[in-house]
Amino acid sequence: MAIVEIKNMDLFYGAFQAIKKVNMSIEANRITSMIGPSGCGKSTLLRCLNRMNDNIEGIKITGKIDIDGIDILRSDEEFDVDALRRKVGMVFQRPNPFPLTVFENVAFGLRIHKLAKSSELSGLVEESLKAVMLWEDLKDRLGNNALNLSLEQRQRLCVARLIAVKPDIILLDEPCSALDPIATAKIEELMLELKKKYTIVIVTHNMQQAARVSDDTGFMLLGELVEFGKTSQIFTAPKEKKTEDYVTGRFG
């Protein structure tokens, strides 16, 4: 069943159209990857799903994005953007833990949404850290500043911080671009693990990564969604010439 339904979506930065008539539906409990050359609009599209583009001035979006049947682009005052972002979380390109302790990083979402009594807090933090396989490494260092962790640990911590608030959808914006190949492999392993409980959408410019981890793949070019389908089909039997040129490395 489709959890995200994008219908006829256009996005303009001032006069520049960054996304053109995109239609696509994202299935629950699958990994959907978005590929395409830099500037093709894949990150912009991803950031529409939790309205992270709201802070950019001069942006205009038309069309519809339904998540669980609710139009999230509604501009009326009653629509609760904070609640949407709790449901649709995001991990960024550069690991960006807060300059707080490891524990406070994970507890942040629980505190702001009042999801736990203080007595339950440490249990939930442990659970989240275990889910991203950081618990064994960090259980004695929960009071350390999160900025002192390695890059990979920081990125894992960002995922732990996110799943602590129990989102439905996790958006990953080139989550491995700052990591080395070994750390990347470990994060990919984590994605496959998380797929059981969450719907994951990942933007990546690493085609091999998309081929390795994702179930569905969308190829974007100059703001258009050129082709969207099963990952195996996109990489082995693309219907569009442009897709074929891109996945075979003829450009991009």
């Binding site: 992270m52 949407l84 972002r85 960024f92 960006n96 807060f98 300059p99 702001i112 960002c158």
Partner: protein, 290 residues
């Protein structure tokens, strides 16, 4: 025609000389202060000086107790801090996080402009507008009080506190805010839980520098605090600060007399206090840079 190397070495020497001159002048001031002030303590005990209640420098026998002056400075400074710190920090948050860009630029330069108003002008404005108002509003015999002084000094400390705090708040990386917002935090939660702790060292330094300015301020307090050298019982009593005492009496003393040296000793106490405050502020500012 000088070669480039000669020009270079001349300019280098000039810059070196200017730097040395600045350091030399400051140390001369310090040694002068130390000599005159310490000379006082060979004749008058430090304990009586700091804890004595009476400042009667021209009576016979003279009394040089500065407790009332320390209390005066303390009342005015604390009062100013209580007003200026919360208002200043909130203003800084408004300017950097809430205000639209056009408003932000106008406000920031406006507030920095406030720092350029000479203190005698602020004192004068306070004297003709604030002092009568305070007298009527609180129904006290005179509006020349620690409270009026605190209000005016809060006004003078505000530009420092707002401007430096705003810099600290604005230097918090956008990625932190983005992360907090993406977790569903409201704007307020982001400011309070993430931006404030991240900017805290810079804000503390701003507060310390603001207080440093307040404690050293002379002209405005002399004009509006009433200058009664008595230990104040409430914030609405007239007080006299250490700085105002030096400024008011220095012209009337005989050079080399006990009174003269006593004023230098007050200067020494003031120097120690401001040195400690600046040292704390510096420590925090350095921590920010790291």
């Amino acid at each position: 025609m000088f070669s480039r190397k000669v020009t270079d070495s001349i300019i280098e020497k000039l810059i070196f000389a200017s730097g040395i001159a600045a350091i030399l002048l400051v140390s001369l001031i310090f040694f002068f202060l130390l000599r005159e002030g310490l000379g006082f303590f060979s004749e008058y005990s430090i304990k009586d000086f700091i804890t004595g209640h009476f400042w009667y420098p021209t009576s016979k026998p003279a009394a040089f107790g500065i407790l009332s002056l320390i209390m005066g400075s303390l009342f005015v400074t604390l009062g100013a801090a209580v007003i200026a710190v919360p208002v200043g920090v909130m203003a800084a948050f408004y300017i950097s996080e809430v205000a639209p860009v056009s408003v932000r630029d106008v406000l920031k330069s406006g507030i920095e402009l406030l720092a350029a108003i000479p203190s005698v002008v602020i004192g004068f404005i306070g004297m003709v507008t604030l002092v009568p108002l305070v007298r009527v509003m609180f129904d006290i015999p005179t509006g020349l009080s620690a409270f009026s002084g605190s209000l005016m000094l809060a006004f003078m400390a505000m530009p420092t506190i707002v401007s430096i705090s705003e810099d600290a708040i604005r230097s918090v990386p956008w990625t932190y805010k983005e992360a907090a917002l993406s977790l569903g935090a409201t704007k307020w939660q982001t400011m309070y839980r993430i931006v404030l702790p991240a900017a805290a060292p810079g804000i503390l330094a701003a507060v310390m520098l603001g207080i440093g300015r307040v404690i050293g301020e002379t002209m405005a307090v002399m004009m509006i605090t009433g200058n009664a050298a008595a230990i104040p019982e409430s914030i609405f009593d007239p007080v006299r600060t250490m700085t105002a005492t030096i400024a008011a009496e220095m012209g009337e003393t005989v050079k080399g007399s006990m009174h003269y040296k006593g004023l230098f000793a007050i200067g020494l106490v003031l120097f120690v206090i401001t040195f400690i405050i600046n040292f704390i502020a510096d420590t925090f500012l350095n921590r920010v840079k790291k």
